[in-house]
């Protein structure tokens, strides 16, 4: 560790201690020392993660490893206590349920629940090189089963329902050109806007599908329709981009609010 690194580390430690003491004096409550420590730690970890914008550094690495380690351990505990203890144990053994102090579920004991236990054990077989191939069976079961289930789900939601959504009349409430031009309006719900909207839906779907047609070269009229399709997609993506960026800005505001209000107390 270089001399400058040591100096920076010492400065950071001093700043941490000063912040902790200052917050302890500023906070009320049952345990201001602990609260102040947690607020200061959160603020320093936030700054450590943000330091990544400058470049990779030991403080970012520390925050990253802490984050990864804590979250991995947390999810392992959640998985064990919610899935194995919470869902499986009460269904296979009353005595085990009592041991883990989870509410017993009388009458739900079912030998079907032993199947996931067996599959789980088979999955762990990969840790033993000689019989590691057995772990492919539960993997095949998981992927195959869920792929089959999803086929039906997506076919309904992303296929049939989408098709029916394109069943829109290009001509709405038509009473002749005279009536059409006399009531021409750009307000929402007007005949012209409804017809234009339906036209955009139909042409957009048509050209979008042409773009995703892989069996033919995109040339000639097919290529022009495909190009229009990609334009439709890009306009949609642009709108989506702006919308999501606004959401991210609100996340940043939330973090800055924490730093300037909860930690530094600069804003009320």
């Amino acid at each position: 560790m270089s001399r400058i690194s040591i100096i920076i580390l010492v400065v950071v430690c001093i700043l941490f201690a000063v912040s902790w003491l200052t917050k302890t004096n500023a906070l009320d409550g049952d345990n201001p020392v602990r609260e102040a420590f947690l607020v200061t730690l959160s603020a320093f970890l936030t700054l450590a993660i943000m330091s990544f914008m400058y470049k990779d550094n030991p403080y970012y690495k520390f925050a990253e490893h802490l984050f990864v380690g804590v979250s991995a351990a947390y999810w392992m505990c959640v998985g064990f206590w919610s899935t194995i203890v919470g869902n499986l144990v009460p269904r296979i053994s009353d005595s085990l349920a009592s041991y883990f102090m989870v509410p017993p579920q009388p009458g739900t004991l079912n030998f079907l629940y032993y199947i996931p236990i067996v599959l789980g054990i088979l999955l762990l077989m990969r840790l033993v090189p000689k019989v590691g191939w057995i772990s492919r069976w539960p993997l095949a079961f998981i992927v195959g089963t869920f792929a089959g289930l999803n086929l039906i789900r997506y076919l309904r939601s992303d296929f049939i329902n989408q098709i029916s959504a394109t069943f829109v009349p290009l001509v709405v409430d038509w009473k002749g050109f005279g009536d059409f031009f006399s009531h021409l309006s750009l307000s929402v719900g007007s005949q012209f806007v409804d017809m234009l909207s339906n036209l955009v839906i139909f042409v957009g779907v048509f050209c979008g599908l042409v773009y995703f047609f892989f069996s033919r070269e995109h040339a000639g009229w097919f290529g022009r329709a495909s190009r229009l399709g990609i334009w439709v997609l890009m306009i949609t993506f642009g709108a989506s981009f702006g919308y999501t960026v606004m959401g991210r800005i609100s996340l940043l505001v939330g973090r800055l609010t924490f730093l300037f209000r909860d930690w530094l107390g600069l804003i009320s």
Binding site: P104, R126, V143, F146, V168, P169
Partner: protein
């Protein structure tokens, strides 16, 4: 004289008025009582039928509204629905509660007994603790709370003795109670068939006036309080009720009726039809591909760049980073990503370039390890495969991002490939990769994230291009066949949309109704 007459007249009038006012009003039974309102007309044509397209455990009642609902006397405010329950149901309910309570008690004993024993040991070892405890819960001058150590020890000993004695007794009774419970459940069908003996009507619910439908459903779990038996004779009755609940119509009765589950959901016929069509198309094109028919797939620039990117990594001597996204192994995008990974890993093995695959999901990691291992085997370099090249990071989204970003900056991969399901982390990853100077190729079907990949990556596979990529890379007959089937399905969609649009112009809703799917 005239004044005398006036005075007499006034007096007479006053006397008459006073007399009239002093007449007591009739009281009690002498008052004419309002006639009791007539009961409303009963419901008619009550039908109880098994609810369609469900897993059973449900009956739907329909009826024709009472003649006094919205017409006639207009006195009906609601309908009350009753079901006949045999007394055996009460036995089942009480046994269920008893078992649950006993199990709860046993569980409490098992958890509390060690605590009580621990507390007793502590008190015996350190009598001074009781004083500290006593002063922490009561004022020193409050005699009611002043306990002696002997009293506390004795109370704990009694509690422990009671728990030790009662716990096994209660536990031993659970088994016989369960047997009794299941015997009672088994008899339900039989006792229902003895209607109307040994049972009574119970109110199930109420529906407002103007409504002529009620669905009675329950749980399939035999131990649930709302257990609803299938294949059992059930009886229902419906009464029309006025604002005065005591004035109600005669009951209309329906039954016996049995509930049962259906094998097929008739509301999902369109799904079955499309599955069959797609299945036939896939089989046809797979057979064609296996026969060696040349099936054209247009070039995808993003996929063609993969080989160049691997070559670049080899020349630079840097690794390739492959991100499978945050999807689970059952999602289509992740499955397509496995296929691309297989191709990339095979090429990487041939070029002897390192590959790094950090995984977000444990099952995905297991599959990815198998895929990469198989690819190295196919490339004839099984010894070069390193188990640690495919590894698990964490199941927390932004912790995963932090870790992968760190890898990007420390390992400096020449190429980053993002294929799969991505969410809010897409821009964080792609932007960091861009800063690190890596060539980036992305593909996802998550529409909201595609814009971020487009702006930050060199090549992006949009939506279905990701699925096509795996077929394009592998040129395997099964994948090519399914890709071709998808293209034909798209052509079909265009035709159907065209016909649908025309049918809507001419106001023919029948065609659109063909595509209505019940959830």
């Amino acid at each position: 004289m005239r004044d005398v007459l006036k005075l007499v007249t006034v007096l007479v009038l006053c006397a008459w008025a006073t007399g009239a006012a002093q007449v007591e009003p009739p009281v009690g039974d002498s008052l004419p009582t309002a006639p009791a309102p007539p009961p409303p007309a009963p419901v008619t044509n009550l039908q109880a039928q098994d609810t369609e397209n469900d897993h059973g455990h449900s009956i739907t009642l329909t009826w024709d509204l009472s003649a006094d609902d919205g017409a006639g006397q207009r006195s009906v405010v609601m309908y009350e629905v009753f079901r006949w329950f045999p007394h055996q149901m009460d036995v089942v309910d009480s046994l269920r509660d008893a078992i649950s309570t006993a199990q709860e008690n046993v569980r409490a004993f098992r958890s509390d007994l060690p605590r009580a024993e621990h507390a007793l040991r502590e008190l015996k070892d350190d009598p001074g603790k009781l004083d500290r405890l006593r002063f922490s819960v009561a004022r020193p001058d409050d005699a009611a709370f002043v306990l002696t150590a002997e009293y506390a020890v004795r109370a704990l000993e009694d509690t422990i003795a009671a728990m030790t004695e009662q716990g096994p007794i209660i536990a031993s009774r659970i088994g016989p109670m369960k047997d009794q419970f299941y015997r009672a459940l088994d008899q339900l069908r039989e006792v229902h068939a003895r209607f109307p003996e040994n049972g009574g009507w119970r109110l199930l619910g109420q529906v407002g006036f103007g409504i002529n439908r009620y669905e009675n459903s329950g749980s399939k779990e035999k131990t649930a309080p709302d257990f609803y038996p299938d294949y059992t004779d059930l009886y229902y009755r419906v009464e029309a009720v006025t604002a005065d609940p005591s004035v109600r119509s005669e009951a209309a009765q329906a039954g016996p009726v049995q509930s049962k589950g259906q094998w097929f959901h008739t509301g999902k016929k369109p799904v079955l039809l499309f599955v069959l069509i797609f299945f036939v198309l896939t089989v046809v094109f797979v057979r064609l591909a296996k026969k060696g028919t040349d099936l054209y797939v247009r070039p995808l620039s993003g996929i063609e760049a993969v080989d160049d990117a691997i070559g670049r990594a080899t020349e630079m001597g840097r690794p390739i980073l492959y991100i499978l996204g945050l999807g689970t192994a059952d999602q289509v995008a992740t499955i397509a990503s496995f296929n691309v990974l297989s191709r990339v890993a095979k090429r990487v093995a041939e070029y002897q370039t390192p590959i790094i695959v950090p995984c977000y999901e444990p099952i995905v990691m297991a599959v990815a390890q198998e895929v990469v291992k198989s690819a190295y085997l196919d490339a004839g370099r099984p010894d070069d495969y390193k188990e640690e090249s495919v590894f698990y990071v964490t199941y927390y989204q932004f912790a995963y991002v932090a870790a992968v970003n760190g890898i990007m900056l420390r390992e400096k991969p020449a190429t980053n490939i993002y294929m799969g399901k991505f969410f809010a982390e897409s821009l964080l990853l792609a932007e960091t990769g861009s800063l690190a100077g890596s060539i980036q190729i992305a593909g996802t079907d998550e529409i909201a994230q595609i814009p971020f990949f487009i702006v930050a990556c060199d090549y992006t596979l949009i939506g279905e291009e990701l699925y096509a990529a795996s077929a394009y890379l592998g040129r395997e007959p099964i994948l090519l066949g399914s890709l071709k089937a998808q293209d034909w399905a798209k052509a079909g969609i265009i035709m159907i949309a065209l016909v649908g649009m025309i049918s809507m112009i001419f106001n023919w809703p029948a065609f659109a109704e063909l595509f209505q799917v019940v959830d």
